[in-house]
Symmetry: C2
Subunit: 337 residues, 2 copies
């Protein structure tokens, strides 16, 4: 069990009031559904004490301003914006993936229908830009441009993820590109946007962006390992959850691309119809492990993390904020183990 | 039949190459679906000579720069951005409304599924901001902020439109607010964004924005009249099309809110289940006309148009560009009569 870094609590406490102010711009119906999705109210509108997720992206945003010597407040519009974009993508992805639950609550589309999830997601994406562009900082346009490019990468990642379900084969490179889009892009922007808003020099911004991107990839690699071999007691997911859906996750892609008899057997298994039984699931997990998928994913996660951390150490950042960025990154990657 | 103003052809010719360059930023699958939606290619990817719509928003954007004495090119990123936002909303609205055809072609969701329409729409919205924010003009952030606020209003309009379907009664004010969001907001931004990019003074921008907004409302009022009493030969829509769906359009809202026996009969008819037959449709159209819905909508459209045109005349604009703005506005409102 990893202890939650204090900067996550601080980040959420600092961001929530600004997020509420931003949501006040929305029409009543959209605001209600967004507040429900964020875990602030029940479906009926009663306030809730529930935990609305870890808010790691706002924490990274605020720390990235402090890391370049600016007050955390400088990054506040960025912290709100990345959290809004994250929730835009959750609203739309839950609908597209047909997921009826998130954090033990019904998803917006499951409660109010597809149109609600589409419109509320759209509204949060537009609002993210509005919050940045109306913040009054001379650096707002640069931050908003970063966010727009990031959103494009995020969408591309989801497009790839959905396309992979229809394909027989994917390369490790394609799989990494997908993860870089779906998970790396927004964490990268989160770890850089505070520095952009603070007007930090390009190389410093780039180092922070690289750090966030590698944390995202390390998280995805680790999460994919847990999706096959994870301990349900520790992860809250059922063991073999990704395998049940015959998902081409990163360890699977690695194993597939080793070829040989193991690779062929795995490819045949992935292409088979229907839901696999427990014996099949164990056999598939063993195949992937035997083809080196588990070891590779773990080593690759460690390599990505080291790469990101090295970039952070070389960027001349404020040591206190840098160490907090490192702690948040490690928390993201190891939160479920 | 109104002659298409030359500025529409010029606007499209100037905008299309920039729009193509913008789309090149998208992943292959999303670009394909966007290009299809825009009418540039067939579903299979073959180039098409088809007309991809009138591109009135880009024309307004380019003219609004010229109206304040700047070259049309200054507004090009704005022209691309408003066209992208327009098409984002069409992609999502077609899905939410269940419309399988647009401009005599299958809609993206009907061809490739709901997820494609969601993701391609999302991508166009993000791209609109990216194009503006990366254009290099010092006014880019102001234009992007306008676009973000406009998108919020556009979404609010669609939220209201969908909510009205579930409601027994709507006021004329609510109906006008919905039309101002769904149709007025983006035409308003289109008619102002070139002036914003050119750095025009606030009162001039406001006059142009007011003009676009009133054109939008006049268009909607006129379109609603045609949706009840229109001549199919002139409009391409079947007569009574809005009535068939028992839609609470502006003339209907006016008639409803007159109360009296006509209003009560109309309310009862709107709340009735099932698809109305021809006799019922004629009776409903007569009811709305007798309650003054047709005359009111026509007079209100004329009033809105006069209000918008007066704002344009008082703004000290370049007379040539102003006259072209007036011609485009009249074309928008009267294109189907």
């Amino acid at each position: 069990m990893t202890v939650t870094p204090a900067s996550l609590h601080r980040g959420r406490d600092a961001t929530t009031p600004a997020l509420r102010t931003a949501l006040d711009l929305l029409d009543r119906r959209t605001r209600h559904q967004a507040a429900y999705h964020l875990g602030w109210i029940t479906a009926a509108g009663a306030p809730t004490a529930a935990d609305g997720g870890k808010a790691v992206r706002p924490a990274l945003a605020l720390l990235s301003a402090q890391a370049v010597g600016a007050p955390a407040d400088t990054a506040l519009p960025g912290a709100v914006a990345v959290e809004l974009v994250h929730n835009f993508s959750l609203l739309h992805d839950d609908l597209m993936d047909g997921d009826e639950e998130r954090r033990h609550r019904r998803t917006v589309w499951a409660l109010w229908g597809a149109s609600s999830a589409i419109l509320t997601g759209d509204a949060l994406l537009a609002l993210a830009q509005e919050v940045l562009l109306d913040c009054g900082l001379p650096t707002a346009a640069a931050a908003a441009g970063l966010l727009a490019r990031t959103t494009r990468r995020l969408i591309h990642g989801q497009v790839q993820d959905m396309a992979f379900e229809q394909r027989q084969h994917v390369t490790v490179e394609e799989c990494l590109e997908m993860a870089a889009g779906k998970t790396g892009a927004l964490l990268s922007a989160s770890a850089a946007i505070g520095a952009v808003l603070a007007g930090a020099p390009r190389p410093v911004v780039d180092a922070l962006a690289l750090y966030g991107e590698q944390v995202g990839l390390a998280f995805q690699l680790t999460d994919d390992v847990l999706g096959i071999w994870g301990d349900p007691a520790a992860t809250g997911k059922s063991v073999h959850s990704d395998l049940r859906a015959r998902k081409k996750s990163l360890p699977v892609a690695h194993a597939l691309n080793q070829g040989g008899t193991l690779g062929v057997e795995l490819a045949t298994w992935l292409a088979a119809p229907g839901r696999p039984d427990e014996t099949e699931l164990r056999r598939a997990a063993d195949l992937i492990e035997a083809a080196g998928g588990r070891d590779w994913a773990r080593a690759e996660a460690a390599r990505r993390m080291a790469l990101g951390e090295a970039a952070l150490h070389g960027a001349g950042l404020d040591p206190g904020a840098r160490d907090e960025l490192l702690a948040v990154g490690r928390f993201i990657v190891h939160r479920e183990v």
